[in-house]
């Protein structure tokens, strides 16, 4: 594979990793605070639909993004109410949210737009278009560095850059701020946080809200940045791959980026390798590449390559001592 082809694969890996990364970081905040969230998929889907619909009505990508965040936050609050206030089963609540989003988006999409659940095609300002970073055109013809800068680093839409900037920001929030310390503590030992006079529910609600915001942005990316409109079930399991990446990264921000880029890269390679022969291996079935993130996660969970230990209080509702 020559340099141009490699850069193109990496370029599409970045694009495919972006929604995974946003959803993965969303899950990171929630699960670090002790709220398991298998509803990432549903929140992304709801965000994608809201973005597609509102961007179509208003013609503004920014309003679409806001709507996506609003829709995802609404579902996040349902999850928060069920798992924090009502102390319900967090897994069951997450399953419910996934189905709620899958059903409502298809139902409302059909009722409002009558295109089989899609939202109408978007163009112009209703989408986030690619940005050209300064100097990209000038450097284009420089060997090696030129294509890397022009194709790989420049030329993405705004949300891609936001997603990757969220990684250092998340690291800083979690490990350098008081809020982050408390957030991590509440996921490990909520009783200790409570004893220190800090409200466990309020902390967890804030984590769940951040999760809503980020999944909303991920959804908006799918509908109005990567594609030109919402398609039924357009998340297609990305929320679960993000969850897998989160486990793979052992609930840490920088490894989360690595895991998402790896899974994005596998996806990009799978598309290119369709029916291609790989030396020494022969024809790799494309389904094998698609299943690889899931297989890797299972192997990791089984503790065969390192050990993934979730936050201690994850999934356990906190009951204040009476």
């Amino acid at each position: 594979m020559d340099l141009t082809a490699a850069v193109l694969v990496l370029d599409s890996a970045v694009r495919l990793a972006t929604p995974l990364l946003l959803a993965c970081l969303a899950g990171l905040y929630s699960e670090r605070s002790g709220i398991f969230d298998i509803g990432l998929e549903g929140k992304m889907l709801a965000g994608a639909f809201a973005a597609g619909a509102v961007a179509y009505w208003t013609g503004s990508a920014w309003l679409g993004l806001l709507a996506a965040i609003g829709a995802a936050i609404a579902l996040a609050l349902v999850h928060g109410f069920a798992s924090i206030t009502q102390r319900g089963n967090q897994i069951v609540s997450g399953v419910a949210i996934n189905f709620l989003a899958a059903g409502l988006t298809a139902l409302l999409g059909q009722a409002w737009f009558s295109q089989g659940g899609r939202t109408p095609q978007l163009s112009g300002d209703a989408r986030f278009s690619s940005l050209t970073l300064p100097g990209a055109e000038a450097l284009r013809d420089v060997p090696v560095l030129g294509p890397i800068y022009y194709e790989l680093i420049s030329g993405h839409n705004l949300i891609v850059y936001i997603a990757f900037l969220m990684v250092p920001l998340t690291w800083w929030v979690l490990f350098q701020t008081r809020f982050g310390l408390r957030l991590r503590a509440v996921g490990e030992n909520p009783a200790a946080v409570d004893t220190a006079g800090i409200s466990v529910p309020f902390l967890r609600y804030r984590a769940v809200l951040i999760c809503g915001v980020l999944t909303g942005v991920a959804g908006a990316y799918l509908a109005i940045a990567q594609s030109a409109g919402f398609i039924v079930n357009m998340t297609a399991g990305k929320g679960f791959i993000a969850l897998a990446a989160l486990i793979f990264a052992k609930w840490r921000p920088w490894p989360a980026m690595g895991a998402c880029l790896l899974f994005g890269f596998l996806d990009a390679v799978a598309i290119r390798l369709q029916g291609a022969y790989v030396p020494f291996i022969g024809e790799v079935p494309v389904q094998f590449m698609q299943a690889l993130p899931y297989v890797l996660t299972v192997v990791l969970l089984a503790g065969f390559i390192g050990r993934a230990v979730p936050p201690k209080a994850g999934g356990v509702p906190y009951v204040k001592e009476r």
Binding site: I38, V78, A82, S83, Q86, R87, G88, N89, Q90, I91, V92, S93, V95, A96, I97, N98, F99, L100, A102, G103, L104, A106, L107, L108, Q110, A111, S114, G117, G237, F240, L243, A244, I247, P285, Q287, F288, Q290, A291, Y294, V295, T297, V298, L301, A302, G303, P310, P317, V319, R322
Partner: protein, 379 residues
């Protein structure tokens, strides 16, 4: 868990509260219909008529019911052991492989009633095998069963597409499906039974696998409530620590409960594969594994409740199709919304109404106790 405020009578615990939860789920579904701009009462009327109003509708309702009984039982058995098997979808998909292999091996040589026991074994075996790895990893290595079963659903989907496209489709065919089974691989339809009552089942695919489903219900009841293993499963589910002190091996119980759960999910494949299409197709499970979660929650993990809940969801699936035809604004996705709301209100929010009901009961029984309760809650 938070202790219930007061001990409530049994009929409230198993009757009133679940009924209230499900009712709220359906009321919210009605609001969704209203929001779309249709009349919910009219929608219910069309739905019930579409599901039960004519022979073909009943036939389809029973066909879907059969699927949901199997997947509901699968989720329920795991629930009793305190496990959440979200992988019914993948286990049923693999069960289809077992069914199809048995059917394709035998269908040209023997009648259906000889094939059926082998197909049952194949479906159960493949479904159980697909549940075995997550069960082992949960029991021995502590990996969370919810995550591993989700991952196994996706792995199953990829595996089956690969098998169907590259290996199982007949030579020269571009369709990702197996060959059509001969008569020995086709389960008889219930049309004859319908005619005895003077009804016409039309093209509906209800078939005798519903008998297998009802037998599975009886098996689960005996297994969970009348055998030593079932007792150990329930004990582990209620209090794993106490179960260990009682000499019960949680490793053994986790694996056995998941094997039975996976086998039940796998059996679901009999109905669509041998009963309806007579071939194995891509994505034939169509979400039935997930509906099982709602069915098990709604049916309180008891076979009788599961049959009732499965029938209700069968009605929703068939009636929903009629509804989408008569009210184009309400597509079949409405069923997924209802399913989600049932899981939310009967599952995640199951205790939402309990404090209120407990207070109402206390008020009715004695004003003094109610005061004590209020005082106790404030303190």
């Amino acid at each position: 868990m938070s202790a219930p405020v007061a001990k409530l009578p049994a009929w409230v615990e198993v009757g009133l509260i679940p009924l209230l939860n499900v009712t709220v789920a359906f009321l919210v579904s009605g609001l969704v219909v209203l929001f779309i701009g249709e009349n919910p009462l009219q929608a219910v009327k069309i739905l019930v008529w579409g599901a039960l109003g004519f022979g073909e509708g009943i036939g389809f309702t029973l066909f879907y019911t059969t699927n949901f009984i199997f997947t509901g039982l699968a989720v329920a058995v795991a629930f009793h052991a305190g496990l959440f098997n979200i992988g019914g979808e993948g286990q049923a998909y693999l069960g289809g492989l077992g069914t199809a292999l048995a059917a394709m091996a035998l269908d040209r040589y023997v009648p259906w009633y000889v094939t059926l026991p082998f197909a049952i074994c194949g479906a159960a075996l493949f479904g159980a095998a697909w549940a075995l790895i997550p069960a082992y990893l949960q029991a021995r290595r502590g990996s969370h069963i919810v995550i591993t079963t989700i991952m196994f659903n996706f792995i199953a989907a990829s595996l089956m597409v690969w098998l169907l496209v590259d290996h199982l489709s007949p030579p020269g065919s571009m369709q990702p499906e197996t060959r059509t089974f001969a008569a020995g691989g086709a389960l008889p339809k219930l049309g004859g039974l319908f005619e005895m009552f003077g009804a016409d089942m039309g093209a509906a695919p209800a078939n005798i696998s519903i008998v297998v489903a009802l037998a599975a219900c009886l098996f689960v009841w005996v297994f969970i409530w009348r055998t030593r293993l079932g007792y150990e499963i329930r004990a582990t589910g209620l209090n794993p620590t106490a179960a260990v002190y009682a000499g019960i091996s949680t490793v053994k119980i986790t694996i056995i409960a998941m094997l039975v759960s996976g086998a039940l999910a796998g059996l679901m494949a009999l109905n669509p594969v041998m009963g309806d299409q007579q071939r194995l197709q891509i994505d034939f499970v169509q979400g039935a594994g997930f509906v099982g979660i709602a069915v098990a929650l709604m049916g309180r993990a008891h076979p009788v409740g599961i049959v009732l809940a499965a029938f209700l969801f069968g009605m929703l699936y068939q009636g929903g199709a009629e509804l989408a035809f008569d009210m184009p604004a309400i597509s079949r996705d409405m069923i997924v919304v209802i399913q989600a709301l049932v899981i939310l209100f009967a599952g995640a929010l199951e205790h939402m109404f309990r404090p209120g009901i407990a207070r109402a009961f206390a008020l009715m029984s004695s004003p003094q106790r109610a005061r004590m309760l209020d005082g106790g809650e404030a303190g």
